[in-house]
Each structure stands twice: as C-alpha cells, then as structure tokens.
Symmetry: C2
Subunit: 348 residues, 2 copies
C-alpha cells in the first residue's frame, strides 16, 4: 500500500490514524490540506512527510494566480512556511521544502515553475523510494539467519514510501529466506508499533509479537533479542539520532546487554547543520494524546501529562547507521560527511 | 481509601480495575471470591494481595463443616492451594498463606482455629499497615527538598494498605513540607500508573505529571529526575528485585544517568529462599491485556502479543532498599539477612 500517490491534481494518502481498523484513503488537493494531514499525523514517517510536503508545495503553486513572478514566489514562500510549521523534528520536511523553493527559483514563467515543481516533487518521491530499496539491501547484510529483531514505532513502507527503512531491512532479510522473528513495541502514545508495524509485518507473513514499550528491557535482558533496528527523524553530524520517543531507552537497554543497536535511514535524514543532537528541536504534542486512547480516558479527569514526541539517542549507543549510500559506523563525525560527499550510489 | 476492610463475615475491597472512573467497593464473602478478585487484579499490589489472601483463608475456614480436624485442615489446604494459584510472582501471597496454615495448625477445635485464623489475618493486615508507616518515614529521608521523583506502576495505599511504600515515601516527604514533584509512568498494559498513582497523588495534592513508559529515559537523560522510586513484588536474598514489567528498564536508565534507583518494600516482600532473582517466577498474563485497552483493540485482528507482568532488576542497579526495618544497601547478600534476623522495630 503506497502511503502517497500523485494524482496530477492532488495526492491520495492512506489515513494512518485509522489503520489497522479501516483502510481509508484521503484525497488532498491543496497545500492547506496537506499541511493539516501532516500535523494530524494522517501522513507520517520522516521520509513520507518530506514527500507529502513537496507535493503540497507543488499543489500550492498550482493555486497561485499572481500578477508577477515576485508575488508568485512570495505566495509560495508563505505556503512553505505553513508546511514548515506542521512538525519540527523530522528534517526531511525542511529539506524537501528547501529543495522545492530552490526549484521554484529556477527561472521561467509561472507555468514553467509550476511544472518544474511537480517534477521536483516526483523526483524527491522517486529518490526516497530508491533510497529505501538500497537501505533494505544493505541492511539485510546485518541480519543473521535465525535472528530476533526488536523494532520501535514504524519505519515501514507507510512511513517511508517504497520498501521501508527499518522494516525494509527486515522484509528484505525475510525475502532472502533468513529465518527471522520480530518483537514490535506498541509505541505509546499513538501506537504506531501496535497499529502499523504489526499490520505491515503480518501482511508480509513475518512472525511478529507485540509487546508494550515497557517490556523491551525484559526481553533484551533475557537474551531473546539479537539486534535492535529503528528508523530516524533527524541525524546530527556527529551521529546523534532523533527518533520516536522511547528510542533512547531501547538503545541504552541494547548496549547494556551487548545487543547491537542499528538505525536505518536515508541520507535525507542527516542534518549536517547540527553538530550534535542537542540542537534537534523536540516536538511537544497535545497532552491528551497521552491521557486518551482512541478517545477514551485512561487517567483521572484533569491529569497533567507531558508528550514529547521524540528523543535523542547519543551516537555512542548507535552500532551502525544503514543509509542508502552505505553502512556507517563510528566515528560518525568522519563517516557521515564522507558518505554525503560521495555521489549517490542508489542508482534509482 | 482502604483497599481491604474486614467486615466480620467478609471483606470489602476497592475494585482497582474500575478506578479512576468509578469508585466501586466489592463485598467478598468466600475464599473463592477472594481468589477471583486477586486473579482479576481487582485487588492488587504485593502487600495487599497477602492481606486479602489471609482474609480469604479465614473466610474459607468459616465455611468448612468438617467432621474432624484432619478433614478440616485438608479442606483448608485445598483453599490455600486455590489462592496460591492466583498469581505467582508476589511472595507476600505465599508468605501470608503459609502463615495462615501455621496458625491453623496451632491446636484447639475447629471453632478455636476459625477464630485464630481471623486474628492471624488481622495481625498480618496490621503489620503490613505498620510496615508502610515505617517505610514512609525512613524513605522520606532519602528525598531531598526540591526533588523530582519518577515512579512506575502503583505502590501507594491501594497496593499496600496503610500509607503505601513508594508513594508512602513521597506522601511523607510532602507532609514534611519538602517541595517535590512526581513523574508517573502510565504502566502499560494495565495502566496502574495512569489510573491509580495519578489518582492517589492528585488526591494528596502532590504535583504529578503522567508520562508514557517510553518517555522515562528521555526525562532522566535530560536531567529532570532526581531519583527513581518503586515498590517490589519479591526481593531475592541477593537484592534482585521483581517488580512490575518496565522496572528493569527504569533501573538501567537511572544508573546510566547517575540517578539513584530506590526500592521501597516491606520485609514481607523478601524471599530468603531464593539466592537470586533467576528463581523468581514471572507471571505471564493474557495477551489481550496488551492488544485491548478498555476493551478496544489497538492492534490488527489476531496480532500475537506477549504479556509478562513482571521483570527482575539485578541488585547492582538498586541504590537502596527501603524496608520497614531500615534502609539497606549493598552488599545486600549481607544486609538483607542481617535486617531480617533483627526483631521488628516498626512498633505498630
């Protein structure tokens, strides 16, 4: 199931808030609708957020009827700002927006720019799809036959387009006939693990067992887990990784028990402008995502709650980062710039 | 609110599965009803399970109309076995049952034994209440003014009788006018933190913020937490601690960040018969406690799930164990037997 499909005059997305109960597709025709869908996490996952935002700008450009190029670009810039305000942590969003604005500045009349923006969004989409294919193949080398892999949140096709990052690696290992099993953490508060990872892996016929986030340490400590494998929302220049809240705990538990902790993410997730994870903004979402589950209260009336959506895992806990351009290891401060300076080897 | 009240011909319990939405008391008149209430976690928390089981045996004894003492004791033994099958991890259950069976063997006719069983159950209840008072006072010395304390699951008055263990310490620190704040983990799957700890601390006027279990590491790593404080279901002779699933992860995260990790539990929770935590049986509960929340599905139809209810925290992660007879530190293998050999100093 494709998380985002370009229709020529809009995009169709899978409403990820309604899975696994309903498979509902939404048609989004305006930049505003795309921004709302990102903010409400109907479309989610760092790479897919970038793809959706790119199409959002292409759709926004189509709606602009400006008298001159200057005001066209001013209108487009306002739309880009609206998209940039939807979610602060995943860098793919900002990179996609920057790339679209660069494409808009490429010259020609409004009609030419509008066409080039659609082409640029389609290029971003195609590159992200290709990156997941490359990540899946490279990462599968890390998965030994007979492994049990623990994953957190959802870094599958829904989150990334194409094959998925962390789940792409797992699915590829299965296709290589490796006997693997997966422990999927439910990933409170929004249960992307229970809802989406379980759904994707069960459809692939991969043996997967759901656990609460609190159980990860128990199974790792018992020796039931061979590696941990997650996606990423932003990776700093030193290899610090922002990912779904709970990732840091999983990384600490893995290292404490001598279990490798792998991150799988496209190079578009790397933010060289940040020297370390300290500078990554952590999205704070509504407390009622914690106090309500499917609309039902789980706490006393008026209970205060905190809801940071991400945490930062220091690079020293990260055994390897699987990118579309190779598997990176410490010292990330050297290996990350090196891989980014190389030409892409994904080959589409 | 008292979790268990002896009525003379039954007990009244607070149905902890219905808090915080409804404050419902249940009247239990038979040993079978008590066993079912423990199994279904309507009455829960290691010390309170022991108290309820003791009353369950006293109630069971009342119902026995055996022709002679031998068959009376045989009937009573069957009831004890039924109670012992309800939950395997909390040792207080087995200690209370053993103590009641010893009391039954004390001589006299059936009427005398029935009366002495009621007296023994009331003694267990009173001792557990007194123990929590002592734990609260001793433990409060560990809480510095201005502290933020993270706790997991529920070790308050509902779980322990009296003042609570971990929450008793927190409540006592507040009564000593220390400025404290609490982070309460929701404690999936059954949400005792969100439902019960939040309810108890909000009633006490203690500033408390609900977080998901997955957020604990993030807040500890940010430096927002001064200590972790939890209860226990069974403590082995070497200081290994079985407690609600997720406790091990919290302990690892605390130590990784130089934050003290404290356990508060009555000496009745210590099991000297086990040299280490390896021997502690871990209760495996129904998978649908993970896949359903308040009866609503959170995962795809047929999703496999695991549900270990407890984990074991190795003693090396435990900074101190606050018991009713003193604060214990490493080497627990020496300090635990020493405190158990001393006469109780709780003084009621």
């Amino acid at each position: 199931m494709e998380p985002v499909v370009w229709l020529g005059d809009g995009i169709e997305i899978v409403d990820q808030t309604r899975l696994p109960w309903e498979e509902v597709c939404l048609r989004l025709s305006t930049c505003q609708e795309v921004a709302a869908a990102i903010n409400e996490m109907r479309v989610r996952g760092a790479p897919v957020i970038g793809i959706a935002a790119a199409y959002g700008i292409a759709l926004g450009a189509r709606s602009i009827e400006a008298p001159d190029k200057e005001s066209f670009l001013a209108d487009l810039s306002r739309m880009a700002e609206m998209l940039a305000c939807t979610r602060p942590t995943a860098v793919n969003l900002f990179k996609a927006i920057d790339r679209m604005l660069s494409a808009a500045g490429g010259g020609g009349d409004a009609a030419t720019i509008k066409a080039s923006l659609v082409a640029e969004a389609e290029a971003i989409h195609a590159e992200e799809r290709a990156a997941t294919r490359s990540i899946s193949r490279l990462g599968a080398e890390l998965i030994r036959d007979g492994s049990t892999i623990i994953t957190h949140c959802n870094a599958g096709p829904l989150a990334t387009g194409g094959y998925g990052t962390a789940l792409g690696v797992i699915i590829e290992a299965k296709r290589q006939d490796k006997a693997i099993a997966v422990l999927a953490t439910e990933t409170r508060p929004l249960l992307q693990g229970a809802r989406l990872t379980m759904w994707e892996l069960m459809r692939e016929g991969i043996p997967v067992t759901l656990i609460t986030d609190s159980m990860a340490g128990h199974f790792i400590n018992r020796g039931d887990v061979d590696c941990a494998l997650v996606g990423a929302d932003r990776i700093a220049a030193n290899g610090d990784v922002a990912n779904k809240i709970g990732t840091y705990a999983l990384a600490v538990l893995a290292r404490e028990n001598g279990v490798p902790f792998y991150v799988a993410a496209p190079t578009s997730t790397i933010d060289l402008s940040l020297a370390s994870g300290d500078g990554i903004p952590i999205e704070q979402r509504r407390p009622d995502e914690v106090t309500l589950i499917r609309g039902m209260s789980i706490a006393p009336q008026g209970a205060p709650a905190a809801n940071p959506a991400f945490d930062v895992t220091p690079h020293r806990y990260v055994s390897a980062i699987v990118t579309d351009r190779g598997i990176l290891r410490e010292p990330y401060v050297s290996t990350i710039p090196r891989v980014l300076s190389r030409a892409s080897t994904t080959g589409g």
